[in-house]
C-alpha cells in the first residue's frame, strides 16, 4: 500500500505545476503584454487577473511544497542545482506581485515605474521558469546540450504564456483590446510551436533510454495520440485566430480550452518520459520519497483539502465571471 504513496504525490505535484503553468501562465502572459497596451487598457488587463493571481501563484508553492514534503531527498538537489534561475524567478515574482498594488497606490507619478516592474517581473519569471524546465528535463547536467536547451526554452516558453494571456483577454475583454489580443496571439503562435517542439525533443535527445521508449514500436503507436492531438489542436488554434467572427461570437474561450489541452498533453508526455525518475537518470520517486508515516499524515490533508480548494477556486472564478471591469474596493 505504501508503494502507491510516492506515485500519488508525484501526481499531485504534477497536477499543481500544470495548474500553475496554465493559471499563472495567463497572469504572466498578460504582464508580458502590458507594454503593448495603452493606459486604460493596462488597467483592464490588470483588472482581469486582479482577483485571481494570488491564488494562481499558490499552485507553485504547492508544487514545490509537495516536492519538499514527499521527496525531500530530491528537493534539495533540484533547488540547489537551479539556484540562479530560482533566484531570478523569485525576483521576477516579487516585482510582479507587488506591482499589482504599487501601480495604483504609490501615486500617479509612480505608475509608469510600477507598470514597468510588472512587465519586467513577469518576463523574468517566465524566462526563468523556461530555463528551469529546460535544465530539469535535460537531467540537471551542466553540459553544453543541457545549457543550450535551457537557454532556448527560456526564450521560447514566454510565448506560451503570452498565448495564454491573450486567450484570457479574449474571454475577459471586448472592443479594441479584444482585437489587439487576437493580434498578439497570432504573433505568439509560431514561437509557441517552437517551444513545444523544443520541450518534446529535449528529453529523448539527451537520454537514449527515453528516446527508445518513444520511438520503438509498439510504444510509438500507443503514444501517437499525444503528438497527434497536439498537432491537431495547434492547427485548430491557427485556424481560430484567423476567424475573428467566430471568436467575437462568444467563442473566445475555445482558444483557452485548446491551450489547456496542449498543456495537458505536454504534461502527460513529459510524465511518460521521466517516470519512474524524479531526477532523470539519477534518482527514482521511491528513492527520493519521505518516510511512509509522514506521507500518510499529509496524504489525508491533501485528500480532504484539495477537493475543497478546487471547489472554492471555481466559486471565486464564477463570482468574477464575465467581462473585466476596473476593480473597485467599494
Amino acid at each position: 500500500m505504501a508503494e502507491f504513496l510516492p506515485l500519488f504525490f508525484v501526481m499531485a505535484m504534477g497536477l499543481s505545476l500544470l495548474l500553475y503553468v496554465i493559471l499563472d501562465g495567463f497572469d504572466l502572459g498578460i504582464g508580458i503584454l502590458l507594454p503593448l497596451a495603452n493606459d486604460v487598457e493596462k488597467d483592464i488587463m490588470v483588472a482581469s487577473i486582479g482577483p485571481f493571481w494570488d491564488a494562481n501563484e499558490t499552485w507553485l508553492v504547492l508544487g514545490v511544497g509537495v516536492l519538499l514534503i514527499a521527496f525531500p531527498q530530491a528537493h534539495g538537489i533540484v533547488l540547489t542545482a537551479l539556484y540562479l534561475p530560482v533566484t531570478v524567478m523569485l525576483f521576477g515574482l516579487i516585482l510582479r506581485g507587488v506591482a499589482f498594488d504599487f501601480r495604483v497606490k504609490a501615486g500617479d507619478h509612480r505608475k509608469a515605474l510600477w507598470n514597468g516592474a510588472f512587465f519586467v517581473g513577469s518576463l523574468a519569471a517566465a524566462m526563468a521558469q523556461g530555463w528551469m524546465l529546460g535544465a530539469y528535463i535535460t537531467g540537471l547536467e551542466s553540459t553544453p546540450t543541457s545549457t543550450g536547451f535551457a537557454a532556448l526554452i527560456a526564450l521560447a516558453l514566454p510565448a506560451l504564456y503570452v498565448m495564454l494571456g491573450g486567450a484570457w483577454l479574449l474571454i475577459k475583454t471586448e472592443g479594441a483590446l479584444f482585437n489587439k489580443a487576437v493580434n498578439w496571439c497570432r504573433r505568439a503562435l509560431l514561437p509557441m510551436g517552437f517551444a513545444l517542439i523544443l520541450v518534446s525533443i529535449a528529453t529523448p535527445l539527451v537520454n537514449s533510454d527515453i528516446a527508445a521508449r518513444w520511438f520503438t514500436l509498439p510504444n510509438a503507436i500507443g503514444l501517437a495520440p499525444i503528438p497527434v492531438t497536439c498537432l491537431l489542436v495547434y492547427g485548430g488554434i491557427g485556424w481560430l485566430l484567423q476567424r475573428v467572427d467566430v471568436l467575437e461570437a462568444g467563442y473566445g474561450w475555445l482558444l483557452f480550452t485548446a491551450l489547456i489541452v496542449i498543456c495537458l498533453m505536454a504534461a502527460i508526455g513529459l510524465a511518460y518520459s521521466i517516470y519512474p525518475y524524479i531526477i532523470i537518470g539519477r534518482m527514482t520517486l521511491w528513492e527520493a520519497a519521505a518516510a511512509t508515516s509522514s506521507l500518510w499524515f499529509i496524504f489525508w490533508g491533501v485528500a480532504v483539502t484539495l477537493p475543497l480548494i478546487a471547489a472554492y477556486t471555481v466559486f471565486v472564478y464564477r463570482i468574477f465571471a464575465g467581462k473585466a471591469t476596473a476593480l473597485s474596493y467599494d
Binding site: 486604460v40 488597467d43 483592464i44 508553492v61 533540484v78 539556484y83 533566484t87 508515516s293 509522514s294 474596493y329
Partner: protein, 451 residues
C-alpha cells in the same frame, strides 16, 4: 568571522525572513481589525466604519502582497540554502509546511479576491464570511509555521535514525513544549503591530488635518486594541521566558548576559557582553531581578553561559535584541495606556499623544524583529536544538553566487521597504472620502481601482 558561504547563507536567509515577517505580522492582526470594522458597520449602519474599512483594506492588500511574494521566496530558500535540513528533517518539516499551504495559503489567497473586489458582486453576508476566512487563513498560517519553528526550538515526538528524523507522534510534534507560548506571543505581537500601525497612520492623518469620523474611529480602535494587548503580551512573554529557561537555558543565559551559574542573579539593564573575556563589561545591574523574573524567587538559580562551552549562541546580538524588545514593550505600554486614559476621561487625543502615536507607527516591527532575533539567534549553533547543527545542513554554493544574490535581495528589499512606507504616506495624506462609491466601469477607477 570570515564571509564564508555558511555565514553568507545565514545572512541571506536572515535578510529574507526579516523582510518577510514585517508583512504577515501586520496582516494577521489587521485582518481581524478589518473584520471588526465590517461587523461594526453591519451592526450599526454607521458609514464611518465602512470608510475605515475602505481605507485600511487598501493597506491590507498592499501589505498582503508583500507578505505573499517574500513568503514564496522563503519556501524556495529552505531548499536552496539549507538542503541538508530538508534531507534530515524533511519528514517533520515537510508535512507541517504542506498543511500550511493546503489549509491556509489557498484559503486566504482565494477569498482575498472576494474580500478586496467582491463587495458589489456578493451579499454582505458572503463578504463578511470571505473577510473572516481571510483572517482565519492568516492565523492558521501562523499556527503551522510556528509549530515548525517551535519544533526546531524544542523538538518532540520524533525518533532519530542514521541522522534522519522520523515522526512518532504528530500531536507531540505540533504541540511541542514551546509551541503554545510562542504561538500566543507571536499572535499578540501581530495584534500589537497592527494596532500601532492603525493608530499611528490615523495619527498621521489627524496631524495632517484630515477630518472624518473614520480617522477617529480607526485611531480609537488602534489605541484601545494596543492597550488591551500589551499587558497580555507582557504576561505571555513572561510565560514564554519561563518555558525557554526550562528547555533552552543557554538562550536565557545569553539574553541575560549571565556567564557563571549563580543564585540571586542580577538583571543587567545595560552592558557590553564580551565573549573573549567571558564577562559583561560596564554592566548596570538590578540586584536579584533576573532570578526574580526567571524563577519568581529572589535567590533562584540561573545557569550561566559557561555551562554550555561552545554550544551557546553568540551573546551580544541576543543580549541586545532582548533589551530592544523590552524597551519597545515598555514604550508600547506607556503610549497605549496614555491614549486609553485620554479616551477614558472622554477627551480626544491631544497633540502630544498624536505625535507619540505617529512616532510609534512601526514600533511593532522593531519589537517583532528584535524578538525574532532573540529566539532565532538564541537557538544557534543549532538548527534543531541540541540535535542538528546549522553548519551541517548548509548548501555548498560559491561565495560569489551567495554574495551576488544577497546583494540583489538586500537592494530589492530596501527598495520595496522604502516604496511601502512611501505608499502608506501617499494613501494616508489623501483626503478621506465619504458618500457614494465610484461606479465600476471601463472609464472610471483608473487611478485607484486596480490592485
Amino acid at each position: 568571522m570570515a564571509f564564508d558561504p555558511f555565514v553568507l547563507a545565514r545572512i541571506q536567509f536572515a535578510a529574507n525572513i526579516s523582510f518577510h515577517i514585517l508583512f504577515p505580522t501586520i496582516t494577521i492582526g489587521l485582518a481581524w481589525v478589518l473584520l471588526f470594522f465590517r461587523c461594526r458597520y453591519t451592526l450599526t449602519g454607521d458609514r464611518a466604519w465602512e470608510d475605515a474599512y475602505s481605507f485600511w483594506v487598501k493597506i491590507f492588500a498592499l501589505t498582503f502582497a508583500l507578505g505573499v511574494v517574500s513568503g514564496i521566496t522563503m519556501s524556495f530558500q529552505f531548499g536552496t540554502n539549507w538542503p541538508g535540513f530538508m534531507q534530515r528533517a524533511g519528514n517533520i518539516a515537510g508535512p507541517l509546511l504542506g498543511y500550511e499551504v493546503l489549509t491556509a495559503f489557498f484559503l486566504e489567497a482565494s477569498f482575498l479576491g472576494i474580500m478586496l473586489f467582491g463587495k458589489r458582486r456578493v451579499s454582505n453576508r458572503l463578504h463578511l464570511i470571505a473577510t473572516f476566512l481571510v483572517a482565519l487563513g492568516t492565523t492558521i498560517s501562523a499556527f503551522w509555521i510556528l509549530a515548525l519553528n517551535s519544533w526546531m526550538q524544542t523538538p518532540a515526538g520524533y525518533s532519530l535514525e542514521n541522522g534522519q528524523f522520523f515522526a512518532q507522534s504528530w500531536i507531540e510534534i505540533i504541540f511541542n513544549p514551546s509551541f503554545p507560548y510562542r504561538f500566543a506571543h507571536v499572535l499578540l505581537a501581530s495584534f500589537l503591530t497592527a494596532a500601532f500601525l492603525v493608530a499611528g497612520v490615523s495619527a498621521w492623518r489627524a496631524r495632517a488635518g484630515i477630518q472624518g469620523a473614520a480617522v477617529g474611529k480607526s485611531l480609537k480602535t488602534g489605541v484601545l486594541l494596543a492597550a488591551v494587548a500589551i499587558p497580555l503580551q507582557i504576561l505571555a512573554g513572561d510565560f514564554h521566558g519561563l518555558n525557554t529557561l526550562e528547555h533552552q537555558p543557554a538562550k536565557i543565559a545569553a539574553m541575560e548576559g549571565v556567564w557563571h551559574t549563580e543564585k540571586g542573579a542580577a538583571f543587567t539593564l545595560f552592558g557590553w557582553p564580551d565573549e573573549e573575556r567571558r564577562e559583561t563589561r560596564f554592566a548596570v545591574k538590578i540586584p536579584y531581578a533576573a532570578s526574580l523574573i526567571l524563577t519568581h524567587e529572589l535567590d533562584g538559580e540561573v545557569q550561566g553561559l559557561n555551562e554550555f562551552p561552545n554550544e551557546h549562541p553568540p551573546v551580544a546580538p541576543v543580549f541586545w535584541s532582548f533589551r530592544v524588545m523590552l524597551a519597545m514593550g515598555g514604550l508600547m505600554l506607556l503610549v497605549s495606556w496614555w491614549g486609553a486614559w485620554s479616551y477614558w476621561r472622554g477627551r480626544q487625543p491631544g497633540a502630544g499623544l498624536l505625535l507619540a502615536l505617529s512616532l510609534m507607527t512601526f514600533s511593532g516591527w522593531v519589537a517583532t524583529l528584535a524578538g525574532w532575533y532573540v529566539t532565532e539567534i538564541g537557538r544557534q549553533p543549532w538548527i534543531v536544538s541540541g540535535l542538528l547543527a546549522t553548519a551541517d545542513v548548509v548548501a555548498d554554493h560559491a561565495t560569489a553566487t551567495l554574495g551576488g544574490t544577497l546583494f540583489g535581495y538586500v537592494g530589492l528589499y530596501l527598495f520595496l521597504l522604502v516604496s511601502y512606507v512611501q505608499a502608506l504616506r501617499y494613501l494616508a495624506t489623501r483626503p478621506a472620502h465619504s458618500g457614494p462609491a465610484p461606479q465600476p466601469g471601463y472609464s472610471g477607477g483608473a487611478a485607484e481601482g486596480v490592485a
